[in-house]
C-alpha cells in the first residue's frame, strides 16, 4: 500500500511540476529547440531545477535501502549502443514535431483538447510497435 501511495505522490509532484513549469505548452518546448528562431530558454531552467533534488536523491541512496524495501537501481551501464542513439534521434524528431514528450503528453490530457489525445494514442501505438522495431533492427544489423 505504501508503494502505491508513494507512486501516486511522486506522479502528482511530477504532474504538478510539468504543469507549473510550462512544459505542457508545446510552444515553449519548440521554442527551446528553435535556436534559429525566437529562442526560449525556459526548458533549461526546468531541467536545472529538476536535476538538483534528483542529484541529492542519488547521493542519499548511498548505504541505504528504499523505504518500501528492495534495492536501488544498479549503477548506470557505460555501454551506449545503437538502439540508444537511433531511439533518441527518433524521439527527438517526434518531440520537435509536436513539442510533446511522454510526461507532458499525459499531464496535458485533461485540458489540452483533442490534439493531445491524438498524439497520446499514436504514442501508445508506437510503444506497442517498439519491440517489433527493435527485433527488426537486431535481425538486420545485430547489436554487438
Amino acid at each position: 500500500m505504501t508503494r502505491i501511495l508513494l507512486a501516486l505522490i511522486a506522479g502528482g509532484l511530477f504532474g504538478a511540476g510539468l504543469f507549473i513549469s510550462g512544459m505542457t505548452d508545446t510552444s515553449k518546448v519548440q521554442g527551446w529547440l528553435d535556436v534559429f528562431g525566437n529562442w526560449d530558454p525556459t526548458l533549461a531552467f526546468v531541467m536545472g531545477g529538476a536535476i538538483i533534488p534528483m542529484a541529492i536523491a542519488w547521493i542519499l541512496t548511498n548505504g541505504r535501502k528504499p523505504v518500501v524495501g528492495g534495492e536501488f537501481p544498479s549503477p548506470p551501464e557505460p555501454k551506449l549502443g545503437r538502439n540508444l542513439v537511433l531511439g533518441s534521434i527518433l524521439f527527438g524528431i517526434g518531440w520537435g514535431l509536436a513539442g510533446l514528450c511522454p510526461g507532458p503528453a499525459i499531464a496535458s490530457l485533461s485540458y489540452g483538447g483533442w490534439p493531445h489525445w491524438v498524439f497520446f494514442t499514436a504514442m501508445l501505438a508506437g510503444m506497442v510497435l517498439a519491440p517489433m522495431a527493435r527485433a527488426q533492427l537486431d535481425s538486420a544489423v545485430p547489436a554487438e
Binding site: 502505491i4 511522486a10 504538478a16 512544459m23 491524438v118
Partner: protein
C-alpha cells in the same frame, strides 16, 4: 533582482524543482527511476505486469494534479498543432523512439544526467539535436509546424 527575471523562467525553475522532488520520492521511496516512457511503455507492451498497480498510481498522479491546478491558472494554452498527420507521426516517433532508447526526457534527462550516467547524457544530446534540426527543417524550411 527578481523583477528582472522573466516570470516564465521562475515558473520553470519552480516546476522543475517539483519534477525533481517527484523523482526523488519515487527513487528513495520505491527504489524506482522516474521515467515516463518506461512507466507507460511497460503497461502497453506487457513488460511491466509485475508492478502494474504502482505504474497506474504514478500515472494517475501525473494526470490528476493538472486537473486540480488548471482552474487556478488563467489562460493556459498548450498551443498544440491541429495537423493530424503531424500529431500521428510525432506520437509514433516518440513512442517507438523512447522505448528503443529505453528512456525520454525524464528517465534519461532528469534521472540520468543527475547521476552522471553516460547513457543519459548521450541520449539527451541526441534527442535535443534531433529535435532542434526537426524544428529548423519543418518550421523554417518547410513551414509545416
Amino acid at each position: 533582482m527578481l523583477n528582472s527575471i522573466p516570470t516564465d523562467w521562475l515558473y520553470g525553475l519552480g516546476g522543475g524543482l517539483l519534477i525533481g522532488l517527484g523523482g526523488a520520492v519515487f527513487l528513495l521511496g520505491n527504489g524506482r527511476i522516474m521515467g515516463a516512457s518506461g512507466i507507460v511503455g511497460g503497461l502497453v507492451d506487457g513488460s511491466g505486469k509485475s508492478n502494474m498497480a504502482e505504474r497506474l498510481a504514478f500515472l494517475a498522479g501525473v494526470f490528476l494534479l493538472p486537473v486540480l491546478l488548471y482552474p487556478m491558472f488563467s489562460d493556459v494554452d498548450t498551443h498544440a498543432t491541429t495537423n493530424i498527420a503531424v500529431l500521428i507521426a510525432a506520437g509514433l516517433c516518440v513512442g517507438v523512439g523512447t522505448r528503443l532508447a529505453n528512456g525520454c526526457t525524464s528517465g534519461h534527462g532528469v534521472c540520468g544526467i543527475s547521476r552522471l550516467s553516460l547513457r543519459g547524457i548521450v541520449a539527451t544530446v541526441f534527442y535535443i539535436m534531433a529535435g532542434g534540426l526537426t524544428v529548423v527543417l519543418f518550421r523554417h524550411l518547410l513551414g509545416v509546424i
